[in-house]
């Protein structure tokens, strides 16, 4: 049985959630659909673990869809980098779904829940597909699947707050523009090379050399993906989308959607596009790097002044994406390692924090920070989870946040850019401020009279604490994540046709 399934794992990774989604819709109201979605996401998680285990030593799995050999057929290509991202996506889905049961029941009417879980599975399938495929056009297709599902998921927050509709609409416009840029960019690559397979593209682009069409394609892909991953100042859709989406959706999206976009960025910038080192490096260093640094500060400062906990965390995400982009635009191995390891570390931390926000909404009925006064006494476990996640966000030693910042600072110091290193630390100080604001309100201010808040149910607390636990575990023992990220970074460099050749 295993021998029969094993060679098809890459296909199953995407096919299972994709095919399961329509069935999910037919399962009527709430409970059954939820169980089904949970089982499916668990299965995808198991497959991801298997793929990660197979690729951990550097093996590359190439799977030919329907037996058609690339470059004509569609190829699924799994190396350590995308196996790592697959793990993040499916792991987040598997942990968010148990959490979603109570949270969704409180935020979405029962007759719509089956549709919600259907959209969720489609979103998972789309994100996994983007990550696993080795075909550039396939990336676009799956990006659209995940994005459309995401718009629906964000809009489903409308039962709690009507503003979710405008947030979803804005996200739709921006996401579509991003996708359009991306597909135009791919079109330009295709016009030059006549192929859509990424490995094949890489070889042909390198052979073809510099041309203005390629430059155009490069810029369009950079900005298209930049929109998807909320690169400052293209992040404007993100705060509202995160703030008004249902809690479970926010936790899942914060952990995965932007991470997958970063993966696509890494793949295209370093593996696929290799026509002119000077031009590409200049663009990254002169456009992406300054924007990343601005994001670290501007978004953190905005977070300091926010009253809504989810919006605050959303802005903090924009700042954290700044760290990730900073790492990859440093263009050295340690920097890319920092970016990749931060994909995981930030996913874990932010998922935990957004889940805490969801717990507050569930039990206290609000995510407004000023209304959470004294919540530390009523909801000790939830609030403690926030503190632990907050410490990781700041980057305190023994949390994953520290590991990321450590590699990032190392990377800047390797280049001798110590002012950038100082800026990384200074922006961490801003994180202390916005985390502390919540801690202060939750613990040091007395609860308003007459307010009773029960601790969140275990079905929400346990997944939250699993993420918190992961953020501490991999902060203390970062062997697995750092090794995987390091290998992924060197694999990227190995497959690159331009980098580190000067």
């Amino acid at each position: 049985m295993m021998a029969l399934i094993e060679p098809h794992l890459p296909a199953l990774q995407v096919v299972i959630p994709l095919v399961a989604a329509p069935f999910c819709m037919m399962l009527g109201r709430g409970g059954l659909a939820w169980i089904f979605a949970s089982v499916v996401s668990l299965a995808t998680f198991v497959i991801s673990i298997a793929l990660f285990a197979q690729t951990y030593d550097g093996t590359i799995i190439s799977y030919h869809m329907g037996g058609w050999a690339p470059p004509i057929g569609i190829e699924y290509r799994v190396d350590i980098l995308n196996a790592f991202v697959l793990l993040i996506v499916s792991g987040s889905a598997a942990l968010v779904l148990p959490y979603a049961r109570s949270s969704v029941a409180a935020e979405i009417p029962a007759e719509r829940q089956a549709l919600f879980y259907t959209a969720f599975l489609l979103c998972v399938a789309g994100l996994l597909g983007v990550t696993i495929t080795g075909d550039a056009f396939n990336v676009f297709v799956f990006l659209e699947i995940s994005s459309l599902a995401t718009y629906a998921l964000v809009a489903s927050g409308a039962w709690a707050n009507k503003r979710a509709l405008t947030a979803a609409y804005n996200y739709l416009i921006m996401g579509t523009i991003g996708a359009t840029f991306f597909v135009i960019g791919i079109g330009m690559l295709y016009s030059v090379t006549g192929t859509l397979n990424m490995a094949d593209l890489a070889v042909r682009i390198a052979d073809h050399g510099d041309s203005s069409t390629l430059r155009m394609g490069f810029v369009l892909i950079l900005l298209g993906i930049g929109l998807k991953l909320a690169m400052f100042p293209l992040h404007l859709w993100l705060p509202n989308a995160y703030a008004y989406a249902p809690s479970a959706v926010t936790a899942f999206l914060a952990a995965t959607a932007t991470k997958v976009a970063v993966y696509v960025m890494l793949r295209f910038m370093f593996t696929v596009l290799g026509f002119d080192y000077e031009f590409q490096a200049d663009t990254l260093r002169m456009v992406v790097l300054p924007l990343a640094i601005i994001a670290m500060f501007a978004a953190s400062l905005v977070a300091i002044f926010q009253d809504d906990l989810k919006r605050m965390l959303a802005y903090s995400s924009v700042a954290q994406i700044g760290y990730i982009l900073l790492g990859l635009s440093l263009l050295n191995e340690t920097g890319i390692t920092a970016s990749i390891v931060h994909l995981f570390n930030h996913a874990v931390t932010k998922a935990a924090l957004f889940m805490v926000a969801g717990c507050f909404i569930f039990s206290a009925g609000t995510s407004s920070i000023s209304k959470l006064a004294g919540v530390g006494r009523d909801m000790p476990w939830t609030t403690a989870a926030f503190v632990a996640g907050g410490l990781s966000l700041i980057g305190l030693p023994l949390t994953v946040g520290f590991i990321s910042k450590w590699y990032l600072v190392l990377a800047t110091l390797e280049l001798g850019w110590w002012p950038v290193a100082l800026m990384i630390m200074a922006s961490s100080l801003l994180a202390i401020i916005y985390v502390w604001r919540v801690v202060e309100v939750a613990y040091l201010q007395p609860a308003p009279a007459g307010v009773t808040r029960k601790e969140a149910p275990l079905s929400m607390l346990i997944p939250t604490w699993i993420f918190v636990g992961l953020s501490v575990w991999f902060g203390v023992n970062a062997m697995l994540t750092a090794t995987a990220a390091g290998r992924a970074a060197s694999a990227l460099i190995g497959s690159s046709h331009i980098l580190w050749k000067d």
């Binding site: 921006m174 810029v219 293209l234 859709w237 663009t283 456009v287 501007a298 905005v302």
Partner: protein
Amino acid sequence: MPEYYTPALAYIAAALLVPFVPKGFLRGLYLLLVPVAGVLIFWGLTPGTYNAFNLMGMQIGLMRVDALSQIFGLAFSLAAMLAALYAWHLRDTVQQVATLLYAGSAIGAVFAADLITLFVFWEGTAIASVFLIWARRTEGSFAAGMRYLVIQIGSGVILIAGIVLYYREMGTISFTAMELGSPATWTILAAIGIKCAFPFLHNWMHDAYPSATVTGTVILSIFTTKLAVYALLRGFPGTELLIYIGVAMALFPIAFALLENDLRRVLTYSLNSQLGFMVVGAGIGTPLAINGAAAHAVASIFYQGLLFMAVGAILFRTGTARATALGGLYRTMPLTMIFCLVGAASISALPFTSGFVSKSLILSAAGYDKMFYVWLALLAASTGAILHTGLRLPYLAFFGSDGSLRPKEAPGGMLLAMALTAALCILIGVFPGALYALLPNDVKYEPYTFSHTIVQLQLVAFVALAFAWAVGRGLLPKAERSTILDFDWTYRRLLPSIIRGLRRLAGAVWDRASRNINSRLDNLVAAVFQLHGPQGPIARTWPTGAMVMMVALLLGMTLVLTYL
């Protein structure tokens, strides 16, 4: 992960588990067994540095086993065990955890082969021990604990500053004998000096120790200062300056001890004086003197601990340790009295007690090196010890004017602990060979020579005679309820008044400056808020058109790059 193994680990792990052990017999037994586990980790290892690893380019060694660290480690472990027995009646989890962490840190520091590990455990002793003072849960003890914590942490901060300087200078952080003479070594010596209660750095001790709980004082008296003595023996053997510091230290608490009313304070003064002997030993630095200092540290851990235990038992039963309120307790606390007398005999260095065999080593070391005045001063300090702790303390507590208190005898755990400690004091005195065999240097020494014994007996006899005479004539300084002005007056009264004056001056300047800076800061924050606040352009929810505009702008800018 065997490379993280250190005896301290056993204590720290045990401390974490304490809350899960049911209170009462089981927990008492558990606390007794922890030191045994600690000893098993280092006992029987051949000398050398174990568990060394590289941390960010620095060579860390968690466990250096040699004769010096072993004898201190062993004495600390034994004392921790006796203290646990003494605290058998205690049901306070905070104190039990604090004691384990404190003892573990002290032992970890003793085995540290490098300065960073030493620093970590150095601060560990400071932080863990303050809970023994706070555990008394009075306002006074809270304030005293706070002062103690500030000074102890301060010592650690000075130590780490010294370590950084030392690393810059020498390029190593290994903890070995240092040459006094550079800023680095002076700083390190100052840090050790605070913990060792050098004259003028000593007040924390007389402030904090009498403020701790009954058992807390016993435990405090064991570790902190002896750890400092160990650090001196390891880091600064043969530093001449230490001889003079030590002599001053041995002599100058005598007067305070003679006048003090609170018996626990009397004991801290006498402890301070005994530390002086060890510092002199470290300063002389010959193999014999080092042996003497180590032996005296070990002996003093036990006899001083015994005295603190006896006074603690009185405090436990009567609720006071003030001499004016006590007296005549021999009627109802006869066993405590006997153990107290054994401790008194030991500190008086009566033959066949531990004090005799250890003090002789230091006195002989001073004598052999022809340091006549040092020898004489130490002899004078011994006289003082006989007077204030050997005679006056038992006299005031157990005999003397009858205070009409009729407390019960001390509880069983305390009695057993005192009995074992007293037995240890006598055993060391009768069979000094066992102690000498453990000493760091291989020196042949025979304490029971005719002249030693006679000198010491004469000393005790004459002091006793003088004491009896003074008591008879009513010349003994009366114990009074009073506060003795010690050096701490300078920093608790004089310095504050100077500082108050300076503060008024600085206040005026500061006010002007801060108003200026504040208004600038306010402006800055206002500007940041205007830009980033909820209604600011960066945080506002933008209309879709504006978002798309932003995209177009960025696309345009990036494309311009393409054609550059």
